[in-house]
């Protein structure tokens, strides 16, 4: 090869098409927005049924998670996600998909070493750093309240 790694890297970059942002961003906005609207609709529904704010919110999350798990099981969530990207990744439904899909995939390796060990394969970092951040927040809150 006559080219250096840097020169080759530049050639490869030139020949590698970029993500079509004009398609992916509106897709993420519309589908992500629809998921949020569904959440709002559920919240209003549960509130109008007489539930208090906390219970209605919790039940909304639970319903969205259940719906996402169901769609993942039917192999539909990933088809929607193909067009939605962050629109399906960021809402709570994305988290449910990230947990349910390895659970389904690794069932063939058994319930302990397959489902049990690999269920948080994708969602694991969110849980680890989410818990770490909340602990840190707790410590900061404790110190600022004590002062």
């Amino acid at each position: 090869m006559k080219l250096t790694e840097n020169e080759y890297g530049a050639l490869a970059k030139r020949r590698s098409p970029d993500t079509k942002l004009y398609k992916t961003i509106p897709g993420a906005f519309v589908i992500g927005g629809l998921i949020c609207c569904t959440g709002q609709l559920l919240l209003n529904l549960y509130s109008s049924a007489g539930l208090d704010k906390t219970a209605a919110g919790t039940l909304t999350s639970v319903t969205l998670v259940a719906l996402s798990a169901l769609l993942t099981g039917f192999g539909l969530y990933d088809k929607i996600a193909k067009h939605a990207g962050a629109g399906t990744l960021v809402p709570i439904t994305g988290f449910a998909n990230a947990v349910v899909s390895p659970a389904l995939e690794f069932k063939t390796e058994g319930y302990v070493l397959g489902v049990g060990a690999k269920i948080f394969l994708i969602a694991g970092p969110v849980i680890v750093y989410g818990l770490a951040a909340s602990a840190l927040y707790g410590i900061i809150l404790f110190i600022t309240q004590a002062v």
Partner: protein, 338 residues
């Protein structure tokens, strides 16, 4: 007896023939532009099995059986099987061959394995080792996805440079018969790493290896691209193919119409959602065995230079920040004996 020219190029003496070949693919490949070329198309992506790994082994068995059937060759007449796939420890091939009692040589060259196994089988036959040797590889989209990327139902997006692992298998049986297609020479490649770290851009990682092997082959054999009807890489996809053309253009050589890539042939990139094209050990194997060998046998194609390419990475090494080494082996397959 085979002669070693230099720098990895070996020419055959007795002109080993590809006496038979067979292919098996999944539904998506069957729906692709080469669908009618394949011997066995399964509507069931599980191939009647309950795990993706077993499905891949079954797929490989189908290709092997089709090759035996086409050549009216008894399984017991196969002296050695050179087989490979993408799965850890080469289990797709090992489990497909575990019950037939054949002499088994497992190979791993990632997506270059078909050229590797073809070269090995040809050199064995050329040197009088065995009556028939089978060169056999496979890949399955679902078994590859769960090993290299994400679970099948995970909602992720693929970048435009990503390639789609073909659910496909191809088998070529090499023997000492005086009928085309003949294997005239092979060039074993070296590992080339130009620092590409993006596992979603395998074409860019492998193109330099294809360039190096092809250039070495031309130089060692005193040939040029014009001497071949078809130069077929597998599987650089759209990105890698364009880069390969660019690299040759820098040498003042235009590959032109005679150049194609198995990853571009197996799927319709406009209609099928495969981004930069197909990949996987089975992609080049099924395209070669399903679409090319028959055309060499009939004389439609005289000289084909088949250069399968492989990205020799693992998810672990990529996560550790390592770049992706590529390899390519070239096999000159010809309808002519001189």
């Amino acid at each position: 007896m085979s002669s070693y020219l230099k720098n990895g190029t070996v020419t055959t003496d007795t002109l080993p023939s590809i006496v038979s070949y067979g292919t098996a693919v999944g539904r998506m490949e069957g729906d692709g532009p080469l669908g009618s070329c394949f011997d066995y198309v399964s509507e069931d992506s599980c191939f009647g099995e309950n795990t993706w790994e077993k499905a891949e082994s079954r797929l490989q068995q189908h290709a092997f059986e089709q090759a035996l059937l086409r050549g009216s060759i008894a399984e017991s007449d196969i002296s050695f099987v050179f087989a490979g796939d993408l799965l850890n420890q080469c289990t797709g091939s090992a489990y497909s061959m575990r019950n037939n009692g054949l002499r088994f040589i497992g190979l791993y060259g990632a997506c270059s394995t078909m050229a590797e196994s073809l070269a090995m089988a040809a050199m064995f036959i050329d040197n009088g080792i065995g009556e028939y040797c089978a060169a056999l590889t496979s890949s399955h989209f679902c078994s590859a996805e769960r090993q290299f990327r994400f679970p099948e139902t995970y909602g992720g997006q693929r970048p435009p440079t990503a390639q789609w692992t073909a659910t496909a298998s191809g088998c070529a049986i090499i023997g000492d018969h005086s009928a085309p297609p003949y294997i005239r020479s092979v060039t074993v490649g070296t590992i080339i790493d130009m620092g590409i770290k993006d596992a979603n851009n395998m074409g860019a990682a492998m193109a330099p290896a294809a360039y190096d092997t092809l250039r070495t082959h031309f130089s060692n054999t005193g040939t040029c691209p014009d001497d071949y009807d078809l130069i077929l890489t597998g599987d650089l996809g759209s990105v890698g193919s364009e880069i390969l053309r660019d690299l040759f253009l820098q040498d003042g050589i235009s590959l032109g119409e005679r150049y194609n890539d198995c990853g571009l042939l197996i799927f319709d990139r406009e209609k099928q959602d495969v981004h930069a094209g197909g990949s996987g050990c089975g992609c080049s194997a099924s395209v070669l065995c399903g679409h090319i060998l028959g055309r060499i046998r009939s004389g439609e194609l005289k000289n084909v230079l088949f250069a399968a390419t492989g990205a020799l990475m693992s998810p672990t090494l990529v996560q550790q920040g390592e770049s992706i080494p590529g390899i390519s082996h070239a096999v000159h397959i010809s309808a002519e004996s001189v």
